[in-house]
């Protein structure tokens, strides 16, 4: 009998076609170390990171590849750094559109422009724009490369999880396939199944927060246009195609245009091509030749699960938290979840760290989600004021921003995604007061050029002991873990970013390239203590 795992959306790429697994013929459910549910950016990155850490991982997706539509689009510097660690960044940088300049308009006037270009001496740009299916395809390409090198990653398309039974030391899954259902067991289950997470529903877990009463229309337009590669945002645009509008360049001569439509709209009618074209025509002016590539209307929410860890089930990405799109904090924060979770789960699966290390995933990424929700809520309140007085103050800010620079710091068309610093984390060890605040424990390491390469490329296989101007042993074993030592001479960038007012420093760096602890000398007892703390053994 043929069963159906219907497609909920059309595919951009068919990357992992359904193939019958021997697990489907097993008499008893086959037990896997880690099962990831969901083949979006977060699920693929999770499988890739775990596999590269030699942890056997099985990914189940109810489709056979990414769906159509540019969706996430803006990938931030930290995401690219993580993808570089995962061996996936090079093609993203090659295809993606790099941009640094943003312009903010009101009506037909330029209020001001901003440059996101960070200080020099970083391998990755501030942002690239890349259609989500391509981001997913490049992660999948990296999975294929990792598999070829022996990484124990398996992907199963058209494998839809219909039920789960969490137990104290494993989870049982019922999986539907075109050949009918079968059962699996997992020591650990990672739910990367998106904002409407069926797994969250099956476990009866809440997803609380705010729904914003507004609709945004995305029109991806293909045209040969000579607009510069910049982010243009309009408040109250003169072309009247929405209460606000955003223009962003994508690869392949495609432009993302967002229009703010308001709350009470007729969704079906607004999606009629003629109606969309009228809005785009008004914006682009007469005589511009273009075609509509992909269109969608979205509303948005800022909400999260109370906890991201539920025993043997861990939630990552949109299944755990959802933000408005302003600030590009959705997929970018999901990739930071992966970065945080994969090394911890790898150590727990290998028996090198206690199970409680995973509680720090919950603590650190709930903190990250709170920060993203706060920023994204504030942007949304500025872009779509909720009350007459809120609109009055918003417009007063815009009135002043034309001439007074201070008001431009208050204008909020999206506070663009920055990596999270895990201040106050239980994993953080000692700090040093004379070293720069930007590299305090909990911070993601800022990149720096090294002779013939980059600092971040040297970090992230496991824990690293970084000595800058202080010699550290090239290899150590502590608490059963191999720690790589890296001794560097203080270049101007390293001195500015890592030394501050001290002549030399020793940093303990986590496998996710976040600082665990730092000292002005090397002492193995202090190091041992900090490492124990960083792996949850203290």
């Amino acid at each position: 009998m043929k069963h159906d795992v219907p497609e909920r959306y059309a595919l951009a790429f068919r990357l992992y076609p359904y193939a019958r697994s021997p697990d489907q013929d097993a008499r008893a459910p086959v037990r896997h170390r880690v099962i990831v549910v969901g083949g979006g950016p977060v699920g693929l990155a999770t499988a890739l990171d775990l596999g590269r850490r030699a942890i056997p991982v099985l990914l189940l997706d109810d489709h056979e590849g990414p769906g159509l539509g540019s969706r996430a689009l803006c990938f931030a510097k930290r995401t690219l750094e993580i993808c570089d660690r995962l061996g996936a960044a090079a093609p993203m940088l090659e295809k993606g559109v790099q941009w640094n300049l943003g312009k903010v308009f009101r009506d037909d006037r330029l209020l001001y422009e901003f440059n996101l270009l960070p200080e020099g001496g970083h391998a990755m740009p501030a942002f690239i724009n890349l259609q989500q299916p391509w981001f997913e395809k490049f992660l999948h390409d990296a999975i294929l490369s990792a598999q070829a090198e022996g990484a124990p990653i398996e992907l199963r398309g058209k494998n839809r999880v219909d039920a789960i039974t969490p137990d104290t030391d494993h989870v049982t899954l019922t999986v539907m396939t075109p050949d009918g259902p079968y059962h699996l067991e997992a020591d650990w289950l990672i739910a990367c199944d998106g904002a409407r997470s069926p797994l969250r529903g099956m476990m009866g877990l809440g997803f609380e927060g705010r729904v914003f009463e507004d609709n945004f229309l995305i029109a991806d337009v293909k045209m040969k246009a000579d607009f510069p590669t910049e982010r243009w945002f309009w408040f109250e645009p003169h072309f009247k195609s929405g209460d606000s509008a955003l223009l962003h360049k994508q690869p392949d001569d495609i432009w993302r245009i967002d229009f703010q439509l308001g709350w009470n709209i007729d969704r079906a009618k607004e999606l009629e091509p003629a109606r969309i074209r009228a809005r785009v025509d008004a914006m682009l002016g007469p005589g511009v030749d273009y075609e509509l590539d992909w269109c969608s209307i979205y509303t948005f929410q800022c909400r999260r699960m109370e906890r991201f860890r539920h025993g043997r089930v861990l939630f990552a990405g949109d299944s755990a938290h959802q933000v408005s799109p302003f600030g590009a904090r959705g997929a970018n924060s999901g990739i930071q979840d992966v970065d945080n979770l994969a090394w911890k789960l790898a150590l727990v699966v290998q028996g090198a760290a206690p199970d409680s290390l995973l509680d720090s995933y919950d603590a650190e990424r709930v903190h990250g989600a709170e920060e993203n929700i706060l920023n994204s809520t504030r942007s949304t309140d500025f872009i779509t004021p909720k009350t007459p007085v809120s609109r009055m103050f918003r417009n007063a800010v815009l009135d002043l921003a034309e001439t007074l620079p201070f008001a431009r710091t208050v204008v909020n068309s999206g506070r663009l995604s920055l990596p999270c610093t895990y201040d106050g984390s239980a994993l953080n060890g000692p700090d040093h007061p004379q070293m720069p605040p930007r590299t305090r424990p909990g911070s993601p390491c800022p990149d720096a050029p090294l002779a013939g390469g980059w600092l971040l490329a040297q970090l992230g296989r496991g824990f690293t002991l970084l000595g800058i101007g202080i010699e550290v042993p090239p290899q150590l074993t502590l608490h059963g873990l191999a720690v790589d030592g890296l001794t560097l001479d203080p270049s101007p960038e390293l001195a500015a970013r890592y030394l501050g007012d001290v002549p030399g420093a020793v940093y303990l760096i986590r496998p996710d390239q976040h600082v665990a602890a730092r000292w002005d000398r090397f002492e193995s007892a202090a190091l041992g203590q900090a490492l124990a703390r960083a792996i949850g053994k203290e």
Binding site: M392, F393, A396, V397, A407, V410
Partner: protein, 66 residues
């Protein structure tokens, strides 16, 4: 620390100027002017804690519980 003791160098003149600044404006224009004025003064004060105390006081002018 928010100053709540008398601090205006020319209290009557400043108050009269505030009222006169609104001369001839509609109510909506006056509200918008007030909003711009608040933002300009906020920037001049700068300190978030002082602003937060001022906002609390404006919302509820009774003295804070000790």
């Amino acid at each position: 620390m928010l100053i709540t003791t008398p601090n205006l160098t020319r209290a009557d003149e400043s108050y009269a100027r505030l009222i006169a600044t609104h001369d001839g404006l509609t109510e909506a224009e006056s509200h918008a002017l007030n909003a711009r004025l608040i933002l300009i003064l906020m920037n001049h004060i700068g300190d978030h804690a002082i602003l937060a105390e001022a906002m609390r006081l404006a919302r509820d002018p009774r003295p804070a519980a000790p």
